[in-house]
């Protein structure tokens, strides 16, 4: 078994060859400029928006203290539990499995700190705004933000990479690491969430915000019956225009927020969070602070029983694989070069051949290219899933999303089938497969 940190390095290098020149970016999310320690910067990334990065452009992550079924993992505020000690046995954090099981590949297993290098601070570092300095178990200093110890990820190779974790709900690992960034520059009463399509603007309660084609720049034409369905996002009396945010006076004393000159509304018929249902009404659209680039060819969108999913050229739903192990470190086991036994247990019952048949990779043709860095073409050794070495016999060119291969499911046979969704441990979020959802009309609908 090759050392899987090493494999990860090769992986990004291989993926890099498949990137086309970056497509022109229409608009990027503005953020609140606040004091930062020397050497820290903000990079506006494709999916996560503005994130903090170190001097080399590597994204910063936190590992918040989180509850799993069998206990807690992660960092409490003010301390780091991610050390250089290599864990050898499982922690029993997910019932029904007990602790003390021997983890795979101990000869090459990295420590937590090897996978997640701490963001070190000088000995004489002083707190800056929301940045503080904590002392690690070995006595060294580490930067923290809002009390959470900060790390980089060995999976990130280029400035703007955010491969170590995501804030996007659907692809968040349970008890995973999440990128940390500055506050978006939005007025009180708004929030921004990371979605498949980009950074979605919502109100403070999580309900989507919309704009209309019928409105003019900083002018609302939604009156009378329109207002029965579309509720203007009202601005307080003391609110002032600032940058991309302006105020439209609907009537004397009635002021409405506008973003990039578009008056903003919520949709009275929305009953679920982060909804896209309002965008089904002709002329109305969700609002994003920034959007991701278009899907690369040959991917397409399909309707399913839960919402809209990404599909391959044949209309079959496309799946990502998520995995984190049951150690106290919660190391990822879903990137090329990580121990493949987790995935092969689920996709093939331990049999690689069944895996390849039941969950085939989404193969990329010779001309396949992506115009953005979320999507890439990588070469892998298909049986192990590790990245292929240059010129390796039997290597397979496959599509990847956020650096990891994509799959289809052989048992999806009818249009719109997503029978493989959540196949795996703990609804597919622990060690399993999940559809690449673009729109989900039902997950946030609990009443």
């Amino acid at each position: 078994m090759r050392n899987y940190i090493y494999s990860a390095f090769l992986g990004v290098a291989a993926a890099g060859h498949a990137f086309a020149a970056s497509a022109p970016v229409a608009a990027k999310e503005e953020y609140v400029r606040a004091p930062m320690p020397a050497g820290i910067q903000v990079i506006v990334t494709e999916l996560e928006g503005p994130v903090f990065a170190d001097a080399n452009g590597k994204t910063l992550y936190k590992w918040p203290y989180q509850s799993l079924r069998g206990g807690y993992v992660g960092d409490e505020k003010g301390r780091s539990t991610c050390t250089s000690k290599v864990t050898t046995t499982s922690e029993g954090l997910f019932s029904p499995y007990p602790p003390g099981l021997v983890l795979p590949h101990l000869d090459t297993r990295p420590s937590c700190a090897a996978m997640w290098p701490p963001v070190t601070a000088p000995e004489d570092a002083k707190p800056v705004d929301r940045w503080t300095v904590i002392t690690r178990p070995d006595g060294s200093k580490q930067w923290a933000y809002d009390g959470q110890a900060l790390y980089t990820s060995v999976l990130d190779r280029q400035p703007g990479d955010v491969l170590g974790g995501t804030n996007r709900d659907q692809l968040r690992q349970m008890a995973g690491r999440y990128p940390v960034g500055p506050q978006p520059k939005i007025p009180p009463g708004f929030s921004v969430v990371t979605t498949f399509n980009g950074r979605l603007l919502v109100n403070a309660d999580g309900y989507s915000v919309y704009a209309s084609d019928q409105d003019g720049p900083n002018k609302s034409n939604c009156r009378a019956t329109c207002e029965e369905t579309w509720k203007p996002m009202l601005a307080p009396a003391l609110a002032k225009s600032d940058g991309e945010w302006t105020i439209v006076e609907r009537a004397p004393g009635v002021r409405q927020w506008a973003f990039r000159k578009q008056p903003l509304y919520t949709y009275n018929r929305d009953t679920s969070l982060y909804s896209q249902q309002g965008s089904d009404v002709p002329g109305w659209h969700n609002v994003y602070t920034q959007q991701v680039g278009p899907l690369p060819k040959p991917f397409q969108l399909i309707d399913t029983q839960k919402g809209v999913a990404v599909a391959d050229a044949n209309g079959k739903a496309v799946y990502a694989y998520l995995c984190s192990d049951d150690s106290l470190d919660q190391l990822s086991c879903d990137y090329p070069g990580s121990p493949p036994e987790y995935r092969i247990a689920i996709c093939g019952g331990g049999d690689v051949d069944r895996c390849l048949k039941k969950w085939p990779y989404v193969v990329a043709d010779a001309n396949a290219r992506s115009d953005n860095r979320l999507w890439s073409v990588i070469e892998i050794e298909p049986r192990s899933g590790r990245l292929a070495t240059p010129g390796e016999a039997g290597a397979l060119r496959v599509w990847a999303y956020r650096g990891n291969p994509l799959y289809t499911y052989a048992d999806d046979v009818e249009p719109g089938d997503v029978r493989g969704d959540q196949v795996g441990e703990m609804y597919g979020q622990r060690n399993g497969f999940t559809v690449l959802w673009v729109r989900d009309d039902f997950s946030h609908s609990e009443t």
């Binding site: 499982s90 019932s95 679920s272 965008s279 009404v281 029983q305 331990g350 029978r419």
Partner: protein
């Protein structure tokens, strides 16, 4: 003992069964029972698999309830632990490849003469049950598999407790029926029943728990096509009966999954009450492959609460499958019944069907 029968089967199931049996005694006010425009719709509020239970379980489960779930099997097989690959991952693998299992842990089956359900094949067979109200020829082979599984028994089995609760909580599960062409809600020899899915929360009373008739549901025209179905039916003494038809029915659990059951030859038998409720049974032959997948849509953690071991469960399902043989003669579906409860709802058909994916 007073109300002992009710205690055996549970109050709600008892109420539904008695209501069905006593249907001729129920009458709607006067003759004016036709709904406006001949249409009336109902939305699902509760569902659970038909499991006939006695108080101590001894009558239907003389061998006791199932004791070997994932946790117990693991402890038996790996008393000294082992590697993640050989233990934990090997057990998870069997969830998706149960045919690889070499286990043979005991899994008691439900016995006894009584089961909840309908006579699906119109015959009186040697393996048939009698309903709690005395109807002969009841087909519910699934009951043999799940009747002694704590996972499915009330009141605290995971499928009974969470499975039912999530029917209310998740709009994914917002199944509805609309009756059209209705001249009378008491007797009508020809009505059309359309299965639809809604998009909205259920209407509750001020306490927030009791689901009330008279709410409104938007009809989902876009993502619910696989659940849409039209059935022919009739109403006899206030009981809606439908023809048997193949139906796909959404029933998701946690984390917004896409669980569904596929029924071959599914039919409703629902008592329509004066206070706007439709209660009774949804019975049919559950496609075994889909049924197993959907049950496995629950995490091993949750399956452990009810001692439901995947590979043993899989074997029992196929062993008792009793309908829809494939070309080789292998049965592919298993007779089953679901207790289902609905309340009257108004439908908002809203926007016309959206043909193009608008996802940004």
């Amino acid at each position: 003992m007073k109300h002992s029968f009710a205690k055996h089967v549970g109050w709600r199931a008892f109420t539904a069964a008695v209501t069905l049996a006593a249907a001729p005694a129920i009458s709607f006010a006067g003759d004016g029972t036709a709904p406006a425009d001949g249409r009336i719709a109902y939305v699902t509020t509760d569902m659970y698999w038909g499991v006939y239970q006695t108080a101590d379980g001894k009558a239907e489960c003389p061998d006791g309830l199932n004791k070997y779930g994932p946790r117990e099997v693991f402890a038996k097989l790996y008393p000294k632990g082992g590697t993640e690959i050989d233990t934990h991952l090997a057990r998870e693998a069997l969830k998706y490849y149960p045919e690889d299992s070499k286990d043979n842990f005991p899994m008691p089956e439900a016995r006894g003469p009584i089961a909840i359900g309908l006579n699906l094949d119109g015959k009186l067979g040697p393996n048939d049950f009698t309903s709690p109200t005395g109807e002969k020829g009841i087909d519910n082979a699934l009951y043999r598999v799940i009747g002694c599984s704590p996972q499915f028994r009330g009141p605290e089995g995971q499928f009974r407790l969470f499975g039912n609760r999530l029917v209310r909580q998740l709009t994914y599960n917002r199944s509805m029926i609309e009756l059209s062409g209705v001249d009378s809600l008491r007797n009508d020899d020809s009505v059309q029943v359309t299965i639809l899915r809604g998009l909205d929360p259920l209407l509750t009373d001020a306490g927030g728990d009791k689901i009330m008739p008279g709410g409104t549901q938007r009809v989902d025209n876009r993502f619910s096509k696989r659940f849409y179905k039209q059935l022919k039916g009739r109403i006899v003494n206030g009981v809606l009966e439908t023809e048997a038809s193949d139906v796909t029915w959404p029933w998701a659990v946690f984390f917004g999954n896409t669980n569904e059951y596929r029924f071959r030859g599914m039919q409703f038998r629902l008592q329509l009450t004066e206070d706007g409720r439709a209660e009774g049974l949804m019975a049919g032959y559950a496609d075994v492959d889909t049924f197993y997948r959907t049950v496995m849509g629950w995490s091993t953690h949750h399956l452990s609460y009810g001692q439901l071991d995947p590979s043993g469960f899989w074997r029992k399902l196929w062993q008792h499958a009793d309908g829809y043989p494939d070309e080789s003669g292998k049965m592919t579906a298993i007779s089953s019944a679901v207790n289902i409860y609905m309340v009257q709802v108004y439908l908002d058909r809203g926007e016309p069907n959206i043909a193009v994916s608008q996802s940004r």
